[in-house]
Symmetry: C2
Subunit: 619 residues, 2 copies
């Protein structure tokens, strides 16, 4: 039997399967995380993808869900395809973009303790001998079954109560928050209670659908943060809010709409309804936190940089417009300071740094680098504006970590690299840039001050063999990482002197933050038991390179542990355990925040941290 | 110096004052409760009235606030008038209608304990040395000043906080409900906190504006209940809700709009803003209670007649659309049963029946008669459908207690009467009707079965002198109370045989309720220490007549105490004292409700109660 070869773009995954195999099965074999919302029955029309090469005759389902132009352009529903030919298939953009959003992480074990309880009640029906009102009737059943005496009922639950009680012969399920009955449902629904944990990033929003009764993750969905079109970074969004009338409401509305779409996507993929979701937790940096709650973020950006709140905030979902069960609530994790947000609290919750007797250092590298150092007895935090260099911005050939980005660079006989999707390179992402600089340092192409030696300085040194790669580009000494003929667009990729300077600023910001925390804590680098790298970037970063360029003290290279999206894990932890959520308040209460700019020796430490480690300091 | 005579309509009050006296002063002397919102400076244009007779040249202020037609029709602003002529003045309708709505009552002494507290706080401003977030900063001030530790803040207060703190140099006033900061205001506003107590009647809505810090009443405003146009009585409104889509929302909306207008009127008359109002209490019968809260009243009217709740309900004002301070809350007093509402709980709160060691009987006579009997050890309640006879409805010449109604009837040489407003009669109101029947009984014109003797049966009896008044009217024996030439409309006023029967049904309903309560309680009428007559009607009712017709046991005539709108007083009590509000829950908890229709001997007792007392039983 003949085999067919299928290449899935943009991740460039290749597999061979026998002719006639359903594409759905092929995607399974290829371990692609692709959704078939209707279960692959050709009904929902949501599993569309594009055939770039190869022949796939359109099915009836294709004709139902796609128009002429789309069919001509090669769009098909994945679930109806039986493979008859070699194919190149392009998966939709959302999948591709989601490719490097880390949705899994070092998960924690904990006791489940949902924020809301469900209690099934069989209420005795009224009669002329027992004319107690509906609510008093339910309340006495609740009081009999629990230790709580002073139950109250929310206005909306009270409105629903008479109808609900009479729908299934006075059996109902009460949804209880503290001493309040927040909702009532007809019959026994006590076995169904979902929640969503959100990590609102400046660029990306991820929502995790969790079963609150088992702690199991049922799905995940993500989207770009639509606030991006009002400002790419935190500061420009704060400026937008300050300058545009209704700006705060607009930014709040777009993020809430995006979250509602994510909820809808996650629940429908998992075969549930949004009414099955009763609790939502939210982490994000301080600005995302404020915009989500509709709090003016102005004072975060102005000295002395104070957020509106540093406490957990519980809000009824309906108040915020979050579309879940009407009894549902939103639990927003607290910020630590203006530039250390609830996302960092999430990292601490996820990693249990606040319960550790060993000294740990957590670093979340992004546009802002947030760092936390300490033990259960003392935790110190700081934040530093690393700039977007690690995200590929302000680097001449920089790009985000998507298809075609150089994501690692190796030094062997020659200097080689790999790209995301394994195709020709288009540019370089943060992890690739750190590798590249580390390799250039190791090869002697840059000195510890960050200067790229010119091509005529290299002969006679160990870097002599790379002399031909060092050229003048844009009036600066530059290192050619990929020649024109190697790249997608036919233009060479350079690391310019200015790129090196940008990276020095970024790594200097992080490194000086680490140094000040250590100094303030009164310990040496080697006293740190573990370095926790949080955030997607930490997973892709080569720890040897990170130490080689001085981002992390070299002596800690073997103690580096990437934990992925620990902020998101923190949101999940706080979702399935009300006790852990309350711990968040405790964490912000005992955390010390160090304002780096106010640190006496800041300038001195920062200017030293701009240098790369001297050769003898490197391993 | 010449005097001028002024007659104020519709209450027909007459006074004489020296020429040149300001009308405002004259109204003061006449003790008219008339409002001058701007203090009488001709600015607000709200003190308009109509000159029916006499000359008042228009002032500049009149020309500013009134148009040509109005001035020609005699409208003037009261505050600008200096009296130069004899005048007949018509006060505006609202005043006239308010005339017999009882807004005062036996007030109670109690400790003030507002539902919400205000606390003035001087918050230390942030600095680079103290970067705590705004809320954490305020919370620690609150924690230092009070014993509460676990303060939380509402979402809306959190949104307002950064702006409020920075408006007056970080001094602010927190509005606190339990452990929640429900609102924040810039500077020191702790001295200002008002509340509104509402009595929602089926026909009339009254709102009392109270100073929560002093317990003083600052004003009162009232309006017709606009639900009347969807149904005059409770049952027709419940039917409307059951039959019309969106009916419940509509009835809820119109009552809330009416309450918002009452709030606006009361606060502006008193020189305040609606934002100065932080708490609202509400009493009403069970149906008014349900419609106000948007609860389906269906099951009140269907056996076994259970209301949705019998507990106090606290709701945020904004949830209900009550327009007061955004931090404000609404406290709704509980019902006892389907037909014994929160208004009766208000009566008990106001009269402290639940704390009395003596046995008291409270009767609230209206379309429904609600009765409560007992002491602090045991309270029994029942309700009976008396029908609208006491309100003048279904009586041939019946009318409400407004201008021109006969409100009392006396037996002397002849049978005489008085009217409201002292003019010619138009009809008869409830208190007049009870008097009339009592007089006819005393005169021997009706027998104890309720039969009006015919004119030819009277000669030879002591009623002989009234024989000419007993005529046939509408085919029935009828008693002519006022001859054609005595009345406003030139038609005679009769008490017909059917009118007597209607009254018998109404009084029989009340009297049998009283008898069943006494029987159930195991006491005789003379064991009752005091009979409390609640409601406006109780104030106008002649207690001798009430006993003479058997509405109240004769032996209790000297123990009758009318307390006016005690339900409204209860709402005020629950407004200024959170402790008293909580007592309401206790009251409904220990109250026993007697469903009269289910009482074994009901028919027997009711049919006996239809009779009037025999002569020897009357005093
Ligand atoms: S999975 Fe639903 S159409 Fe393909
Ligand atoms: S009192 Fe204001 S116009 Fe007369």
């Amino acid at each position: 039997m003949k085999n067919c070869k299928i290449i899935f773009c943009p991740m460039n995954k290749e597999i061979e399967i026998p002719v006639g195999t359903p594409l759905k099965k092929a995607m399974d074999i290829a371990e692609l995380d692709f959704d078939f919302p209707c279960g692959g029955r050709g009904r929902c029309g949501k599993c569309r993808l594009q055939i770039l090469k190869g022949s796939v005759p359109p099915s009836d389902a294709d004709r139902d869900h796609l128009d002429e132009d789309e069919i001509r352009a090669g769009f098909r529903l994945a679930c109806t395809i039986k493979v008859q030919d070699d194919l190149v298939v392009e998966l939709p953009l959302a999948e591709a973009e989601g490719h490097k959003i880390l949705v899994d992480a070092a998960e924690r074990k904990m006791k489940l303790k949902p924020h809301l309880r469900k209690l099934y009640c069989e209420v005795p029906p009224p009669s002329l001998e027992d004319q107690r009102p509906d609510w008093d009737r339910l309340r006495s059943v609740l009081a009999a079954e629990t230790s709580e005496r002073g139950y109250v009922i929310s206005h909306s639950a009270l409105q629903a109560l008479p109808g609900v009680l009479r729908e299934k012969k006075f059996s109902c399920t009460a949804i209880i928050s503290g001493n309040e009955v927040a909702g009532v449902e007809a019959g026994d629904t006590a076995g169904r209670m979902l929640g969503m944990a959100f990590d609102i990033g400046t660029t990306t929003v991820v929502g995790y659908l969790m079963d609150l009764l088992t702690g199991k993750q049922l799905g995940v969905a993500s989207a770009m943060n639509p606030q991006t079109k009002y400002g790419a970074d935190v500061i420009s969004r704060i400026t937008y809010v300050g300058q545009e009338a209704g700006g705060l409401e607009r930014l709040q509305n777009v993020i809430i709409e995006a979250m509602n779409r994510i909820i809808e996507e996650a629940v429908s993929n998992a075969g549930y309804l949004r009414e099955d979701v009763y609790a939502v937790t939210v982490v994000g940096n301080s600005c995302m936190h404020h915009l989500f709650l509709g709090l003016d973020p102005k004072h975060i950006a102005l000295a002395p940089y104070v957020p509106v709140t540093g406490s957990p905030q519980d809000v009824e979902a309906r108040t915020l417009g979050i579309e879940i069960n009407p009894a549902g609530k939103v639990y927003v994790l607290p910020n630590i300071a203006g530039f250390v947000g609830a996302d960092t609290v999430g990292v601490i919750l996820a990693t249990e740094m606040d319960q550790s007797s060993e000294i740990r250092l957590a670093i979340d590298i992004g546009t802002n680098g947030e760092m936390v150092l300490g033990t259960r007895d003392r935790l110190l935090a700081c934040s530093t504006a690393a700039g977007p260099a690690f995200e590929g911005a302000q680097i001449s050939c920089g790009m985000r970590g998507t298809k075609g980005a150089i994501d690692s660079v190796q030094l062997g006989e020659d200097i080689t690299y790999t790209t995301i999707g394994d195709g020709k390179p288009k540019g370089i992402c943060g992890s690739g840039l750190i590798d590249a600089i580390a390799v250039m340092l190791a090869a002697g192409i840059i000195d510890h001050r960050g200067r790229i030696l010119s091509g005529d300085q290299l002969p006679g040194t160990r870097a002599e063999r790379f002399a031909s790669r060092v050229v003048e580009h844009e009036g600066m000494n530059s290192f050619m990482l990929a020649a024109a003929e190697e790249t997608v667009h036919g233009r060479p990729l350079f690391i310019t002197q200015r790129d090196v300077r940008e990276l020095q600023l970024a790594k200097g910001a992080i490194a000086s933050g680490v140094e000040i925390l250590l100094e303030k804590y009164g310990i040496r680098p080697e006293d740190v038991f573990e370095v926790i790298l949080a955030g997607a970037f930490g997973n892709y970063l080569d720890k040897h390179s990170a130490c080689a360029i001085g981002l992390i003290p070299s002596c800690l290279e073997d103690r580096v542990r990437p934990v992925g999206n620990a902020a998101g894990t923190g949101a999940k932890v706080a979702l399935v355990s009300a006790a852990e959520y309350r711990r968040a308040a405790h964490i912000t209460g005992f955390m010390e925040y160090e304002e780096l700019a106010a640190y006496p020796k800041f300038t001195e430490i920062f200017s030293k941290a701009l240098y790369f480690p001297e050769e003898e300091q490197r391993i």
